[in-house]
């Protein structure tokens, strides 16, 4: 064996050179520092936007800062917030789920029809709905992880299939609110509320906040959560590092299906009735994607936090309520949300440049 110390003669030139290896003393401008801070705190942007929106509407609309107004905003975003939990975990894996709304509506119809058509006790009907919703999500996961279909296409397909199946199965039949209240009140559980000091807060709001808190913990502090991020960040690298990315994907879509089914249950509480034509079936996906994107979660996967999605959903709710109180044309809501979406994605692109 050659003597290690004298092996490469050209390295003689290193003698007397500084022993330091690649140290960096970058002159950081304020802007660079901001970029780095945002890179580490992805939910900061939506939080700032939310604060500004609250301030602006607080000044413009005099009854905005009433507890009643704020509780209505939370009530309005409960379903989108829960669908957003589903959408968040999917988008963190660099996927997208267009079928969230369809799974929610179909699950609510399954819960209702199991009770009213087949006479299953409401509690068991709910469990059946939750299981079937999870199964629908798992099918998405299998199509994406096993058949390697692009998530956009796979869920575009299942969205249409599930929505159509929902209409066929229910025969377009709505179950009336009064019937549910009389025979299966468990279906409407999340529509119940507590009223401290006369301010109504739905159970659904607590459920949404609890889900966001739980998922925030799971994503940040468990190995599974880290695997979700790694799968979205760089799937090949994650696979080589020992993450079973296929399994993670299936679990993520199945869990998303479960959250959608929960949202379906909440819908019965919010609307009172079970309706296969609920607008969530068509709009749920766009609304949840909007909350996720405004919440600073990268569509390229692996970046962002679920708390950001919560802020994103709140921003949408605050804009809708604030603009209504100010008395503008409701189209301004959509106009401004469109601006926010583009702003959020532009900021994401800028933050991701930190790497290069």
């Amino acid at each position: 064996m050659t003597d290690a110390k004298t092996a490469s003669s050209f390295e003689e030139g290193l003698k007397g050179a500084s022993e330091k290896v690649a140290e960096f003393h970058e002159e950081k401008s304020q802007l660079k520092r901001l970029q780095h801070w945002l890179h580490q705190t992805p939910s900061a942007v939506p939080m700032i936007v939310l604060m500004v929106a609250l301030l602006v509407f607080g000044v413009l609309a005099e009854n905005f800062f009433k507890a009643g107004t704020l509780s209505v905003i939370l009530q309005q975003i409960a379903i989108v917030g829960i669908l957003g939990c589903a959408q968040t975990i999917v988008i963190l894996t660099a996927g997208i789920d267009l079928s969230v709304g369809a799974i929610a509506v179909f699950s609510s119809v399954l819960m209702g029809q199991a009770t009213f058509r087949y006479g299953v006790p409401a509690e068991i009907a709910i469990v059946i709905g939750l299981i079937l919703g999870t199964a629908m999500g798992a099918v998405n996961g299998l199509l994406i992880a096993k058949m390697k279909l692009p998530p956009f296409i796979a869920t575009l397909g299942t969205w249409q299939i599930l929505l159509a199946a929902n209409f066929i199965f229910s025969a377009n039949e709505t179950i009336r609110s009064s019937d549910i209240a009389a025979t299966a009140p468990a279906l409407q559980f999340w529509g119940g509320s507590i009223q401290p000091g006369g301010i109504k807060i739905l159970y659904a709001v607590f459920l949404m906040i609890a889900l966001v808190a739980i998922m925030s913990y799971v994503l940040r502090s468990t190995a599974w959560g880290r695997h979700v991020y790694a799968t979205g960040d760089d799937p090949q690298a994650a696979e080589l590092a020992g993450v079973p990315t296929g399994k993670v994907l299936i679990q993520v879509y199945a869990l998303a299906g479960f959250f959608c089914a929960v949202a379906g249950w909440v819908m019965i509480g919010r609307f009172g009735s079970v309706s296969p034509t609920a607008s969530t079936g068509q709009l749920g996906n766009i609304q949840s994607i909007t909350a996720v994107v405004i919440g600073g979660i990268s569509l390229f996967g692996g970046r962002g936090s679920i708390v950001g999605m919560f802020f994103g959903a709140l921003i949408v709710g605050v804009f809708e309520m604030g603009l209504r109180l100010v008395g503008t044309d409701p189209q301004w809501t959509f106009f401004l949300i469109g601006v926010l979406i583009i702003f959020a994605v532009a900021v994401d692109q800028w933050i991701r440049k930190v790497a290069s």
Partner: protein, 258 residues
């Protein structure tokens, strides 16, 4: 002496391309074995077959005399074979500590760990910091900074530290110095010797002849999907080795495969 890791008759085909053509492979305990070969000779496939990233179509791999058949890199790692891939296999947006423990995270003690699956962040960070310090390769202030904010050399260092920390039987390094500067390469070569001095054999895939001839105990020359010969760096010159691997010259007693 018996080889620690032995491959016989390994075959891997990708459609019509035969990447591994009845290839043999031996790694002895405590040695640094360099694997060299021209582009497309099948070095990467050989390494992937050993590290579980590719399942060979035919042939047998024995670790410590027992046949092994890995279907995933996780199984190879569980058996004590760690690989540093050329792509490094790190998640850029995640922290150094997260990356070091990817796929083998530590859970907190007690109820928080067993029921709530909470990660033991303090322990993971302490371990990661220790391993990086042992290596002395870099001056990282924050173990929680994202890997994408590190320089190329620092990233390589983290990847090597990860393999050295967990590899109990074999450490495989795929082009560990290709992306590094002179000084950083030197540190990595020193680290390679450190790992060997702990008794762990190393497989080093490299195009850098000075580095190969400096640290390797034996050199496996790969050509056209199989092992052409194994030489000792003292017996041949670098230009001989290059001539063998490109087919310009044949080592004694070896016939050019048809």
């Amino acid at each position: 002496m018996e080889p620690l890791l032995k491959g016989t008759n390994l075959v891997k085909r990708y459609g019509k391309v035969t990447a591994l053509d009845h290839c043999d492979f031996d790694l002895y305990p405590g040695e640094i074995l360099a694997v060299i070969g021209d582009n497309g000779a099948g070095k990467s496939t050989l390494i992937k077959a050993i590290s579980g990233a590719v399942i060979p179509d035919e042939g047998e791999i024995m670790l410590e005399g027992k046949p092994i058949r890995f279907s995933t890199p996780i199984e190879a790692r569980a058996a004590g074979i760690e690989t540093v891939y050329q792509t490094l296999a790190m998640s850029p947006a995640l922290s150094i500590a997260d990356n070091m423990f990817m796929g083998r995270e530590l859970r907190a003690p007690g109820l928080m760990g067993s029921v709530f699956r909470k990660l033991d962040r303090p322990r993971m960070e302490k371990f990661a910091r220790e391993k990086l310090n042992e290596l002395g390769l870099m001056t990282i202030q924050n173990i929680n900074q994202a890997v994408e904010t590190l320089s190329g050399g620092q990233r390589q260092g983290v990847a090597v530290a990860r393999a050295a920390a967990f590899g109990s039987k074999v450490v495989i390094l795929d082009e560990p110095t290709a992306a590094l500067g002179v000084k950083e390469s030197r540190r990595v070569l020193e680290l390679i010797r450190d790992v060997r001095s702990r008794g762990i054999p190393i497989i080093l895939i490299s195009h850098n002849m000075p580095h190969v001839f400096e640290v390797a105990d034996r050199i496996h020359i790969h050509r056209l999907g199989k092992r052409l010969c194994v030489i000792k760096p003292g017996d041949y010159s670098m230009s001989d080795a290059v001539a063998f691997m490109t087919g310009a010259k044949l080592p004694e007693g070896v016939a050019e495969p048809a």
